[in-house]
């Protein structure tokens, strides 16, 4: 759907712009009125009612402006039969599309194809080309052997044949004007914008050498050789020297489109790539100059040429090249400057990039400078500044739009090349064509060898023989040459048809033969392949250091090398240019920050993904819960605690096992699931409609990555819960015993849940933590049972068992992920033990516990172990060592530090206020006391619970309650969750998502917290009250953002939720 829309849009753009240029081109003629007349007077228009496609008119124009005014369309488009479509004459505005029916009377239904013909045909072309592209990629074998360009040409030929034989070949798709004005710029802009600047400028010398000297060499040598052979009479006709040079000028240029198409597929190393590709880009200036020069000479005639003309030719080269480059750079800076102010109208950011670079291109063309150079350098220049200004979304848009435009242009170019091949104007001369191909290859090779020798003298990285070969072999000719040869005026150059045929042959030879063989050759010659990888933080950092060092060294040595120039530029850039062009001029080394944020982001994504998949529905799910559980306990009883067993993501939370819902609850839950899964899309759709705005894109509409995850979780959760229900509901019922642990337990269990609740939504890791926790608890229980100790002794046991665990730990094989959690568990254990033993709220335990509280979101996200806070660095270690001297010692350092990353690692741009830490710490300490008390309680209770498995759930909550508690995790004992508040996941601000998500969690994770409570209104209100208190305090607490999180102002969020929850509760408890 969107593809079609895009295509249509693109087509419309093309059509509109084509018409626009028509007008623009015509208005270059002094008086506008005159131009209109000229349009009407157009020879084609003389046949009444018949107007050709604008492209035909374009033939009269010359890209280089050297076309003779005399050239009539019928001649210049000799191989493009005039289209016979009926078109309302002299009404260029119609295709732009204004109102419908005109004429007499009212037609209920009219079909008027002519009115939409041009855009229709163009869009049809693009559509077909894109379809063809899809086709190739559906046949992997085909696309692995042939480069895409070949296949496109073949398709083009097929279509051309069809058109030719049906005589409907009314369209002459690839005219020089459309090519140079509409098809080439996107490709070049894409190349320039995504040019690896560093690489490009590092090798600029070599590139220029090849682009300038190489192209001149090719032109001269090919021209002379062809002419020389012509003198022998081999061709059977006379070939003037200047005509030959004209031909050799256009044939000698390496074509960026073809090179891109082929080199992007073969993935040679970056140096090779940049040299060949850079050459193909920069030789445009030379080609344009040479072509224009020889074109002019041909016009003048050989005998009239003075050498002032030759000299002026060289002068014009400098003007064309430097001028084009300068225009590009100026437009690039301008673009940067404009985007500086777009922060309020983000949606139009991409348009500036496209339009301004296109303007650069056209601007250069006005002065007959190298448009390709202009747009290339415009892209190169603007990139760094633009990216500092625009939003990431715009950046993505630009990226994709640019790729889309360039790849569709490329597709069309190759296809049209194929279509244009089929005509009856060919003039085949075997000797000439074969010799052309031969000379092209040979002189290219010679040029490469000689020039690399020269270049190697000045290069650090010497180009070796294989690289030389690939460079010469990669000199593909393409559509630029073809478009240029079409521009040649057959009136002046008699052999133009032959040149066209020869050009097509050369293009075909390079694209087909070289394009197909280069891949295996590269493989065979073992050319160093490019290994695309994202730079790690270390690489980025150290490379920057090395850069600076080397620049410094060059300073010391007094050389003026690349590095020194770059260093100079960087200084100027940082001092003057960036502050002007970039809104938030941040750092001197944006790349470091960029890499950092990219990596952090990736870590976050990775984390999300892994946690979604780590608990995915793999084979293990057929195993019954009971079996799992049995194995698990058995293992623990044996003492060989194999944690890996529990790694399949099962949630063995006791609370869930013991959950016994009523029939009504079940159906409620089912409805929830059904609704939440099925209604997901409608939800989104409606939200999009609601958030529609012409000038902004609601970010929520764009983010779709979450819900994949989320759905996954849904499945898992439901599956687990269903299994649990099936397996255990009976047992649970049997064991049900209202010997309630009272509301005290309820409170604490709520706590347990809500520690897990928020993160549960986001990842499976918390679940795992629970497993581990459970694991430990069960272990304790088993030991407790074995030793016949009373429950009151749990504290002592806990201490003992944590030691035992440590002892056993030696045999445990931790998988990597586990390992990152375990220390925390241990530290938690030890903290608990310590607590129980000492009956005091030691800071150590406090921190350890807080580490636990942090864990849900933090663990392994980005395993940064940050600097210890002054308070935390010393104490925990020492304290813990007292408690369990064995295994935990090694691990413990990780635990306290885990808390800190969240504090010290705000994501870029969201620097967390560092103020108020002391008071916050105090506050936290106070909260921690509460929490520890609670944890203690919880531990005791879970022990009880495990022992009397399933006895703990006296009452079944009402359906109403089940709906609610997701709101309630905040409503718990405030002391427990002061810190948790900040650990909202990214989507916390997405209300729909939250709302949507919560029922599931309610059902699965949060249900039984309410169960054991007396659901009295008073209770609810007291808890609400406490929450209100909490939200006040919440402001004081340190709110560590997760490393990938955007710091959200949590207290507001919570209070809002609380309000909702309260409202809900009121409704439901009535």
């Amino acid at each position: 759907m969107s593809i079609t829309r895009t295509l249509v849009f693109f087509v419309l753009c093309v059509a509109a712009s084509e018409l626009a240029t028509n007008i623009v081109a015509l208005s270059e003629v002094p008086s506008h009125g005159h131009s209109t007349i000229q349009y009407v007077d157009n020879p084609v228009g003389s046949s009444p009612g018949v107007v050709t496609l604008p492209s035909v008119v374009h033939h009269a124009e010359d890209r280089s402006g050297l076309a003779d005014a005399v050239s009539s369309p019928s001649v210049s488009t000799g191989d493009h039969p005039v289209d016979g479509g009926v078109h309302p004459p002299a009404d260029p505005g119609t295709a732009g599309g204004h109102g419908g029916g005109h004429g007499e009377g009212i037609h209920v239904f009219t079909a008027e194809f002519a009115r939409v013909e041009i855009p229709f045909i163009i869009s049809l072309w693009i559509f077909c080309a894109s379809l063809a592209k899809i086709g190739f990629h559906m046949a992997p074998k085909l696309s692995s052997i042939f480069p895409e360009s070949c296949l496109l040409i073949v398709v083009g030929i097929v279509i051309g044949l069809l058109l030719f034989h049906t005589n409907s070949a009314g369209v002459s798709p690839l005219t020089p004007t459309t090519f140079f004005f509409y098809m080439l710029p996107p490709i070049i802009l894409d190349a320039g914008y995504f040019m690896p600047n560093r690489l490009f400028f590092d090798h600029l010398g070599t590139i220029l050498l090849f682009a300038v000297l190489g192209t001149i060499w090719n032109t001269v040598s090919i021209g002379l050789a062809l002419w020389g052979v012509g003198q022998t009479g081999l061709y059977g006709f006379d070939l003037p020297l200047l005509d030959t040079f004209l031909f050799s000028a256009l044939i000698s240029a390496v074509d960026p489109v073809a090179v891109l198409a082929v080199f992007e597929e073969i993935h040679v190393n970056e140096i090779l790539y940049i040299v060949v590709f850079g050459e193909s880009l920069l030789n445009d200036a030379v080609t344009v100059v040479l072509y224009n020069m020889f074109d002019a000479y041909v016009g003048m005639g050989q005998e009239n040429i003075k050498y002032t003309d030759i000299l002026s030719g060289f002068a014009s080269f400098i003007v064309v090249a430097i001028g084009g480059t300068l225009i590009g750079i100026i437009w690039g800076f301008l673009t940067g400057f404009v985007t500086r102010f777009t922060n309020h109208v983000r949606v139009i950011e991409p348009i500036f990039i496209f339009v301004m670079s296109y303007l650069a291109y056209l601007n250069a063309e006005i002065f007959h400078m190298s448009g390709i150079l202009a747009i290339t350098f415009c892209g190169i220049t603007m990139k760094n500044y633009v990216e500092g200004n625009i939003s990431p979304k715009s950046h993505t848009t630009i990226k994709y739009a640019m790729k889309m435009l360039s790849s569709s242009s490329e597709t069309i170019i190759f296809m049209f090349l194929g279509v244009n091949t089929v005509n009856d104007q060919h003039d085949w001369n075997t000797a000439f064509i074969l010799l052309t191909i031969l000379f092209c290859s040979v002189f290219r090779a010679i040029g490469c060898i000689v020039l690399t020798e020269v270049a190697n003298r000045f290069r650090l990285h010497k180009l070796n023989h294989v690289e030389k070969f690939v460079m010469s072999y990669g000199g593909l000719r393409g559509a630029v040459a073809f478009a240029l040869v079409l521009l040649v005026d057959p009136n002046k150059v008699k052999k133009q048809p032959l040149f066209v045929t020869a050009t097509i042959s050369v293009v075909y030879f390079t694209v087909f033969f070289q394009g197909i063989t280069i891949k295996p050759l590269v493989k065979y010659l073992k050319v160093k392949r490019a290994n695309k990888f994202e730079k790690t933080m270390n690489e980025r950092l150290h490379e920057k250091l090395v850069d600076y060092t080397m620049a410094g060294m060059e300073d010391i040595l007094g050389h003026t090398g690349n590095l020194k120039i770059r260093d100079k530029f960087k200084q100027i850039d940082n001092k003057y240019i960036r502050p002007c062009l970039i809104r938030e001029h941040a750092a001197h080394e944006p790349k470091i920050l960029e890499t950092y944020s990219k990596l952090t982001m990736r870590d976050a994504m990775d984390f999300m993904r892994r946690n979604a998949t780590s608990s995915n529905l793999t084979g293990g799910n057929s195993e019954s819960m009971a079996v799992l559980f049995r194995n698990y306990t058995a293992n623990n009883l044996n003492g060989s605690a194999s944690m890996a067993q529990m790694d399949n993501g099962w949630n063995l939370d006791i609370g869930e096992l013991a959950y016994s819902p009523s029939a009504r609850d079940l159906s409620d839950a089912k409805v929830h699931h059904m609704l939440s899964e099925e209604l997901w899309k409608p939800y989104r759709r409606s939200s999009r409609r609601l958030s529609y705005s012409r000038h902004a894109v609601n970010d929520h509409d764009l983010s779709s990555s979450h819900h994949v995850n989320h759905n996954m979780h849904m499945h898992i959760r439901r599956m687990v819960s269903e299994t649990v229900r099936k397996q255990h509901s009976k047992r649970v019922k049997r064991h049900r015993d209202p010997h309630a642990n009272g509301s005290g337990e309820g409170g604490s269990r709520n706590g347990t849940k809500s520690v897990s609740f928020k993160p549960l939504k986001e990842n499976g890791l918390e679940k795992k933590l629970h497993d581990d926790y459970l694991h430990a608890v069960i272990k304790e229980v088993s030991e407790a049972e074995e030793r016949n100790t009373s429950l009151d002794d749990v504290g002592a046991q806990a201490a003992g068992s944590s030691e035992d665990l440590d002892g056993d730990g030696a045999g445990i094989t931790f998988i990597a992920r586990k390992a990152s959690i375990d220390p925390v568990l241990y530290s938690y254990e030890s903290a608990m033990a310590e607590l129980i033993n000492n009956q005091q709220m030691a800071l150590a335990g406090l921190l350890a516990a807080s580490a636990l509280a942090h864990l849900p979101v933090q663990p392994e996200l980005s395993p940064i172990r940050s600097p210890d806070l002054p308070q935390s660095s010393e104490t925990p270690r020492g304290k813990r060592l007292e408690v369990d001297g064995k295994g935990a010692i090694k691990k413990s350092p990780a635990a306290p530090s885990r808390q800190i990353p969240s504090k010290s690692k705000p994501i870029l741009g969201y620097a967390e206020p560092a103020t108020g830490i002391p008071s916050a710490v105090l506050e936290q300490a106070r909260l921690q006391q509460h929490r520890l008390r609670f944890l203690l309680e919880r531990q005791r209770q879970s022990l009880k619970r495990v022992i009397s498995l399933g006895e703990a759930h006296p009452s079944t909550p009402t359906a109403a309650e089940m709906q609610l508690p997701w709101k309630r995790d905040d409503a718990d004992d405030m002391s427990t969750f002061a810190i948790k508040q900040s650990e909202f996941p990214l989507w916390v601000d997405n209300k729909e998502y939250n709302n949507y998500y919560s029922p599931t969690n309610t059902f699965l994770g949060e249900l039984d917290k309410k169960k054991s409570q007396h659901p009295s209104v008073i209770d609810i209100f007291t808890r609400e009250h406490r929450t209100a208190d909490l939200s006040e305090r919440g402001e004081n607490t340190l709110s560590p953002p997760t490393s990938f999180d955007v710091t959200v102002t949590i207290p507001e969020e919570i209070s809002k939720e609380d309000e909702e929850a309260e409202a809900n509760q009121k409704t439901f408890t009535k």
């Binding site: 000045f458 290069r459 650090l460 990285h461 290994n531 990888f533 790690t536 933080m537 270390n538 690489e539 950092l541 150290h542 490379e543 920057k544 250091l545 090395v546 850069d547 600076y548 060092t549 080397m550 620049a551 410094g552 060294m553 060059e554 300073d555 010391i556 040595l557 007094g558 050389h559 090398g561 020194k564 260093d567 100079k568 200084q571 940082n574 001029h585 941040a586 750092a587 001197h588 080394e589 470091i592 920050l593 950092y596 990596l599 952090t600 980005s862 395993p863 940064i864 172990r865 940050s866 600097p867 990353p901 010290s904 690692k905 705000p906 870029l908 620097a911 967390e912 560092a914």
Partner: protein, 190 residues
Amino acid sequence: MGNHSSLLLREEEIETIQQETGFTPNQIERLYSRFTSLDKGDNGFLCREDFHRIPELAINPLGDRIVNAFFCESGSEDQLNFRQFMKVLAHFRPVKKDKENKLNSREGKLRFAFQMYDTDNDEQISKEELLGVLQMMVGDNISEEQLVSIAERTIVEADKDGDQMISFQEFCTALERTDVEQKMSIRFLN
């Protein structure tokens, strides 16, 4: 200029330096002329002020470090004679397969880069050292906290043995994919 400097440089000195560093005599002479032009006091050795007098180096954010590296490498505190000077520069000779030299090998180059960080010479890059370099390079516009987190990220990434430091070994591993031979080479004129 060239003649003048070669007069001051004796044949056997050139030879020893050539042996030691692998520079050609031509390069040595050329570098010697540079050395003498840097040596404003004409006392046969360079001191820190001589380096700081180079205008570009003065604005190089890592200028101090680079100068330090020169002195640190040679072991002397504030004097650097030509031989030591050459020894440091020898790190940046392009690697040639046939002529192996310890100084300009990959390890030698990496060692030099490592020393840029390692200010206390304990063979470890600590977080503070990393942070120092980051501050120099990135500038002041970035908050300390962000830099700290970047430094942490970097260390964690490279830190294999979990000691919160980057050892030289870890440093090398982290830069395994980087073309250090290429990046840390200067084309010395002949």
